[in-house]
């Protein structure tokens, strides 16, 4: 599943982004290999979503060189868009279409061939088969989120970007997502997800890297540096506390 010709799933050097005079990210370096998962911790408003939006071509960086799935998101956004799957805070699904219709619509936007089979695959991957022909409006939050994940994996992108995917997911779906991510990494893909949940983050991070976004940059944590798991958890928890900024 990895993309030939690109050594790194994500490579970011010297990324900077500010909103007006409000600096969000600066001197940010980040490297992610294929087959790796990166779990990103960080307090609210620290720039996790902004980072994912930049990687997913939705926001423009002020400075820095970027390579996402082998392509520059600023110069060749469409090449990047074809190779990433994004799950954000919003489902990006239309309430008055059924789950299947939504997926067919996205399949056509991505110019996929063999859309019905792919849609079936994605739906069964997130175990929504029994509700696929109901309007999204009638689904529970957890099911909508699963449908949103199905949308993100529909075009089989090698790189997944998930912004707090645990929000609104029930226990069963969380397990499903964990299995999916593991499968993604094993088949040579990569994923970055942000989270607020230390337990889930540690579980996801077992097979990959754990990073903390603070002071405008990503610091990759090495669990070995800490005396025990409890201390590591302490560090991660404290990174989630919103600092007073003035």
């Amino acid at each position: 599943m990895s993309v030939a010709g690109s050594d790194f799933a994500v490579r970011v050097e010297g990324l900077e982004k500010s909103f007006g005079h409000w600096p969000v990210l600066w001197d940010l370096d980040l490297t992610l290999d294929w087959g790796q998962l990166l779990v990103l911790f960080g307090a609210n408003a620290v720039g996790k979503t902004t980072l994912l939006r930049i990687l997913s071509t939705q926001a423009r960086p002020d400075a820095g060189t970027l390579s996402v799935a082998g392509y520059d998101p600023v110069r060749t956004p469409n090449a990047v868009r074809r190779r990433i799957g994004v799950v954000g805070h919003q489902t990006c699904l239309y309430d008055d279409l059924t789950c299947r219709e939504n997926l067919v619509y996205y399949g056509r936007l991505f110019g996929l061939t063999d859309i019905p089979r792919r849609v079936d695959e994605a739906i069964s991957r997130v175990s929504l088969g029994h509700r696929a022909d109901q309007r999204v409006r009638t689904l529970s939050n957890g099911m909508q989120k699963r449908a949103s994940i199905a949308r993100a994996i529909l075009h089989r992108p090698p790189l997944l970007l998930l912004d707090e995917p645990e929000a609104g997911l029930d226990q069963e779906s969380t397990v499903m997502l964990q299995g999916l991510l593991k499968e993604w990494a094993e088949s040579g893909g990569a994923a970055i997800m942000t989270t607020h949940n230390v337990d889930l983050g540690l579980a996801w991070g077992e097979t990959g890297k754990i990073g903390v976004l603070a002071d405008g940059k990503v610091q990759v944590q090495e669990p070995g540096r800490y005396a025990n798991v409890a201390e590591f958890r302490q560090v991660l928890s404290s990174s989630l506390v919103t600092r007073q900024r003035n």
Binding site: Q90, D96, L97
Partner: protein, 216 residues
């Protein structure tokens, strides 16, 4: 085009946009009837004005509603994440807005014709409506994308839309007056080309600047 198909399917399901805009258009007609006291003698002078004020206001309502719907669950975000060129996205949205508005106008026009007693059927009038509505949807789609992202978006769309669209309203009213009056076609020769020039110009400019609007 898949965008148009999706929007039509959505509208068929919810029916909120076309219906509410239709009712709004009728209300405008009724209010103006009392405000201006339309008598048969003055109908050719006044009816086109009422017609186009109703159409223009209905257009702003329809288009701002259409963009809000795109943003509700992040549909626009999903659209922007797909490898479709921004030009195509703009033209798709503008085409959908054009079709919806034409549908609304095709229902409103006969109703207006009956209410104010003019004859609606003329190729000139239909041509005027198509050209002017194309202008509405090009400028309106662009500005509703801008307005949807700013604070006080309900006000921003009309504030941006009406000054820019004014030539279209003038042209449409003048052309309709001639079409409805059925008298001479004197002066018609310049209004339809004016609308066409406006459309052509904004057909080039709007897709280009749209990519800057949705960039972030």
């Amino acid at each position: 085009m898949v965008l148009v198909w999706k929007d039509i399917l959505l509208e068929v399901r919810s029916r909120e946009l076309v219906i509410s805009v239709l009712v709004f258009g009728l209300l405008v007609a009724v209010v103006f009837n009392f405000a201006l006291d339309v008598t048969p003698q003055r109908v050719t002078a006044i009816a086109p004005g009422i017609l186009w004020v109703a159409f223009a206001f209905a257009a702003t309502m329809a288009m701002s509603r259409a963009f809000v719907r795109e943003r509700e669950q992040g549909g626009l975000e999903g659209l922007l994440l797909s490898p479709v060129s921004r030009d195509a996205i703009f033209l798709g949205k503008a085409l959908t807005n054009l079709l919806f508005m034409l549908l609304v106008e095709m229902v409103l026009l006969p109703v207006f014709a009956v209410l104010f007693g003019f004859s609606a059927m003329s190729f000139t009038l239909i041509g005027t409506i198509v050209l002017a509505t194309l202008g509405f949807s090009l400028v309106g789609t662009l500005f509703s994308a801008i307005a949807a992202q700013t604070r006080s978006r309900e006000i921003m769309l009309p504030v941006l839309f009406f000054p820019v669209i004014l030539p279209v309203i003038i042209g449409a009213v003048e052309a309709s007056t001639r079409a409805i009056g059925g008298e001479t076609t004197v002066g018609l020769g310049r209004w339809l080309p004016l609308l066409a020039v406006f459309d052509a110009l904004f057909l080039v400019i709007c897709p280009w600047v749209f990519s800057f609007v949705v960039e972030e």
